[in-house]
Each structure stands twice: as structure tokens, then as C-alpha cells.
């Protein structure tokens, strides 16, 4: 159970996330939607502590995540894996090593810096890659792969962390529709195995198709929190003041993604 209480983040005078409170039960797939600048990324990054909150608390199974430092913080980051819009793989390293990065926190520093991973970990990495049909690419450099393949490598890396939560920040905004589907299916698949998934999405249709619950942010505040079925076109107009098509186009443009797959008639 992930509990967020009154979480706030200010950048100078600007409030990116404004007193957000949220409880995410274990195993849920939660979609976070919102326009550009609504605070989605900041919210997710605060959970992983890549960004520190200005106020408020994050608790996971009773542990105060916001108070963690040093080893405790690194252990927490291992348990809540992060997936990025631009994949954030190390381009010049081979795919296998990129995936094995997910094990670094479990290894003694010296052996990990020497790239000495155990046979079992290597097999684990290959199995994770194989799950996304990428085992054959294990020894290629990461920059030889397409965007969709790189995002799947990033998910394999996340899986090797053996996380309790996966945080995905716009995982499909840089991908074409076919790869988007593969990546979302992969996220849904690992979610079904019991990993909580928090995913930022710019595309409402994807959010409705894949998530158990949707949270909508506007100007850093939660303006909707409920099941996908409750997020109707009328509701969108109510909370954002624009039609669903306008919302979709604007959100897609903000992340540099292709226009929405199919606009819902008003």
C-alpha cells in the first residue's frame, strides 16, 4: 500500500504539485493523466525521490519514504522501479549490461563496478529479455535497438530490480501505436503478477483501456479519482473545460507524441 499525504512540490514561486493525497493499494494499475505542466512527472519522480517533495509525506507499507537517506533510499529506489519516456538506457553499453543495472543495488560495490555479475543474474536478465522477445539482442549495443525495443529493455531492467512498484513516466509517448501497445501490454502483464504500476499517460484511450483506476491532475491538484468508466467525455469537459478531442490533441502535442489514435466523437 502506497500512501501519499499532502504532497507538495514548489519550483521557485511555481507550485508543480499541490497537496496531493492518494492511497494506492498493492497490485493496482493506476493511470495518471493531465495536461502539460499538470505535475504528473513531478508526482511520479517524488515517489522515486528523484525529486524531493517540498511538503507532505509518502509512506509505503508503513515506511516513511520521504525520510529515507543513503542506503535506505537506494533500497527504496530498487523496490520502486522507474520507466522513462526516453528509456534512459546507457546507449554505449550492451543490452544485457543495461538490464543487469537492475541488480546493482544487490551487489557488493566492487564486484558490480567490475561488471562481475553471477551466472544466475545473467540467466535472469536473459529470461527477462526473452519475455519481451529480446534475448537475441542481449549482446548488441543498446543504441542499435528501436525505440520500442529499448523501452522493453527498460522494463526488463525494472523487472530485475524485483520491484514492488513500477513508476512509468509517459512510457509510450515516444513510440508508434504498435510499440505502444506492446509496451502497455508488458506493463499490464507485470501488473497482473502483483506489481503495483503507476503510469503517466497523455492518451485518455490508453488510460481507459489499461488502468484499474485513473487520477486526473490539473495545476498540481487532483481533479478526478475513480474507475475508468466514470471518466466520461462530459467529466473531462467539466474538470478541464475543454472537449475530449481538444484535451487529447493538446496532451499529445505537449509530449511530442503522434496525434491520438482515434478521437471519440463528441
Amino acid at each position: 500500500m502506497l500512501e501519499i499525504e499532502g504532497l507538495t512540490r514548489r519550483f521557485g514561486a511555481k507550485i508543480a504539485v499541490d497537496k496531493v493525497s492518494l492511497a494506492v493499494p498493492a497490485g493496482q494499475m493506476l493511470g495518471v493523466i493531465g495536461r502539460s505542466g499538470a505535475g504528473k512527472s513531478t508526482l511520479l519522480r517524488m515517489v522515486n525521490r528523484l525529486t524531493d517533495p517540498s511538503e507532505g509525506r509518502i509512506r509505503f507499507d508503513g515506511t516513511d519514504v520521504t525520510a529515507l537517506r543513503g542506503t535506505g533510499l537506494r533500497d527504496w529506489r530498487m523496490r520502486c522501479a522507474m520507466i522513462f519516456q526516453q528509456f534512459n538506457l546507457v546507449q554505449r553499453l550492451d543490452v544485457l549490461t543495461n538490464v543487469l543495472v537492475g541488480r546493482l543495488n544487490r551487489r557488493p560495490l566492487v564486484t558490480s563496478l567490475l561488471r562481475m555479475f553471477t551466472a544466475e543474474e545473467r540467466a535472469m536478465a536473459l529470461a527477462a529479455l526473452d519475455r519481451f522477445d529480446l534475448a537475441e539482442t542481449a549482446l548488441q549495443r543498446a543504441d542499435t535497438l528501436s525505440g520500442g525495443q529499448q523501452q522493453r529493455v527498460a522494463i526488463a531492467r525494472a523487472l530485475l530490480q524485483e520491484p514492488r512498484i513500477i513508476l512509468a513516466d509517459e512510457p509510450i509517448a515516444s513510440l508508434d501505436p504498435r510499440n505502444s501497445r506492446i509496451v502497455m501490454d508488458a506493463l499490464r502483464g507485470v501488473n497482473r503478477e502483483g506489481i503495483t504500476v503507476l503510469v503517466n499517460l497523455h492518451d485518455l484511450t490508453t488510460a481507459r483501456d489499461y488502468c484499474d483506476r485513473i487520477v486526473a491532475l490539473n495545476a498540481g491538484r487532483i481533479v478526478f479519482d475513480g474507475p475508468p468508466a466514470a471518466l466520461t467525455a462530459a467529466r473531462i469537459r467539466e474538470v478541464y473545460g475543454v472537449t475530449e478531442e481538444e484535451f487529447a490533441e493538446e496532451a499529445a502535442a505537449a509530449v511530442g507524441a503522434p496525434p491520438p489514435r482515434h478521437a471519440v466523437p463528441a
Binding site: 540467466a123 535472469m124 529470461a127 527477462a128 530485475l160
Partner: protein
């Protein structure tokens, strides 16, 4: 959760993911052995022994003790003049070299000069100049134009033209063609394309490199002084000869401060003229 993977199965399917093949391993071992043998051979040849290093270290220790406290001696003005001379030599030499290197760089760039023979010859000539160290040039110029800073400036100038021209040529070759194409498409001639399409792209690189060379030449100008080509070096050499280590230490501290100041100023200039992207 990821199930524990079957190691044997995967090792069988992708052995290379677990350890490099026997050929690679043999090659690596041979390479390592060769390297160690070469290292040991070189150490033996130059008579490296812990004994000698230890003695040298205690010798250095004595010098350091003699350096404390640093003192300017009685020739304050002379020292400051020497340092100013070194900086001026470095500046003049680098500045002139950079000016001459710009056209040479363009002439040596593959995307500017398409005549291979001409470009090839120019580059080989530059290679020849680069093969001769600054110090050798300094010795030659001291014989040619006499003792003093003029020889030093000429030495820096000659040695750096070739290096800067090569670096500039490489920067120009990495410049984007599209921007020059835009100028040509608007009716510009070849020279306009270079002036407006290429130069703005490479000017920040050229400036940054010239500034680095200025800083580095301030340091190497010290050595030029030792062979009589002007600057502070001669004064350091003389004081070492008469073992006035406290004064040597004082000059060294002044030099370090000067180089740090130049580095700081050139950093500001770079940021100012190039912007954060440079």
C-alpha cells in the same frame, strides 16, 4: 516477480552472455602478458628501483623544506616583469597562430576543399610542422633572431598553427551541411556559404580552443624561458642553479595563480560569447 531463471538452459542457449569464448580469452591473456612484459622491460631498462625512488623522494623532501617559506627575494619587479612577459608571449603567439590557422583550417577541411591532392599536401605539411615540438622551434629561433621574447612568440606561433589548423579543420568537417545549403539556396556564393553557413557553427569551437591554447601556452612559456626565449623561465632556472628554492616556490605560486586567473577569465569569455550550449 521474475521466476528464478534456469542457468544451465540459458548458458547453453547464449554462452557468450556468460563468459567470452576461449579464443577471446586466450587473446586477452596474451595481450595482458605482452603488456606486463613490456612494462617490466621498460622499468628494467630505465633502472627503476625502489631504492632510487626512495632516495629521490627524500631529495624532493629536502627541496620542499627549502621552499618554505616562499620568498620574493630582492627582485620583485623583475619577477613580475618576467611573468607579464610570459603571459604576453603566450597571448601574442596563440593569437597570431589562431588567426593564421582559420584559413588553413578551411583549406584543410574535406567539405570545403574538394581537391584531394591540394588538401592532402596541406595536411601533410601541417603534420610535419606538428611533429616538431615547441621547444625545438624555440632553440632554432633563439639562434635565428637572438635571445628574448621574440623567439618565444615565434616558437609558440609556429608550433600552434599546425595543431590549431588541424583541430579547426576537423571542427569544420563536423559542421552541418544543411545550414550552408540554406545560404546557397538563397542565392549566396561559395564564400558567403562559408561565411554565413559554416563559420557561425565553428566559431565557438575555434574560440574555445584558442583560449585553451592560450592558457596552456602560458604554462609552457616557462620552459621557453629556460632556453633563452624570454619570459619567467630563465629566472626560475637561475634560482634553481643557485638553490634559492624559496624564491623558486614564490615564482611557482605566482605562476599557478596567473594560470588560474587566465582559466577563470577565459571561462567567462567562453560563456559570454558562446552561451551555455558551447
Amino acid at each position: 516477480m521474475t521466476p528464478r531463471a534456469n542457468v544451465a538452459l540459458w548458458r547453453d542457449r547464449m554462452p557468450a552472455a556468460f563468459s567470452p569464448g576461449p579464443a577471446t580469452r586466450a587473446l586477452r591473456a596474451a595481450g595482458l602478458a605482452l603488456f606486463l612484459a613490456w612494462l617490466a622491460g621498460a622499468l628494467w631498462w630505465f633502472d627503476f628501483s625502489p631504492q632510487r625512488l626512495w632516495n629521490g623522494l627524500s631529495g624532493l623532501g629536502t627541496i620542499v623544506v627549502l621552499m618554505v617559506p616562499p620568498s620574493p627575494g630582492e627582485l620583485w619587479v623583475e619577477i613580475l616583469q618576467g611573468i607579464a612577459e610570459s603571459v604576453a608571449m603566450a597571448f601574442l603567439g596563440t593569437f597570431l597562430a589562431a588567426i593564421v590557422a582559420i584559413p588553413l583550417g578551411f583549406l584543410g577541411a574535406r567539405n570545403i576543399v574538394t581537391a584531394t591532392l591540394w588538401r592532402f599536401s596541406l595536411r601533410r605539411v601541417l603534420d610535419g610542422f606538428r611533429g616538431v615540438d615547441q621547444l625545438i622551434w624555440a632553440l632554432a629561433y633563439v639562434r635565428a633572431v637572438g635571445l628574448g621574447p621574440l623567439a618565444g612568440v615565434l616558437a609558440i606561433f609556429t608550433a600552434d598553427i599546425a595543431v590549431l589548423a588541424k583541430l579547426y579543420a576537423e571542427a569544420i568537417e563536423n559542421a552541418e551541411k544543411k545550414q550552408a545549403e540554406g545560404v546557397v539556396a538563397a542565392g549566396g556564393g561559395r564564400l558567403s556559404a562559408i561565411r554565413f553557413g559554416i563559420l557561425p557553427q565553428v566559431a565557438p569551437v575555434m574560440l574555445a580552443q584558442a583560449l585553451y591554447f592560450f592558457e596552456s601556452n602560458t604554462r609552457s612559456a616557462t620552459i621557453l624561458g629556460v632556453v633563452g626565449a624570454g619570459g619567467i623561465g630563465l629566472q626560475i632556472a637561475e634560482r634553481i642553479r643557485v638553490r634559492h628554492w624559496d624564491e623558486v616556490a614564490f615564482i611557482i605560486i605566482l605562476m599557478v595563480a596567473t594560470v588560474a586567473a587566465i582559466d577563470w577569465i577565459s571561462g567567462r569569455i567562453r560563456r559570454r560569447l558562446i552561451g551555455e550550449r558551447g
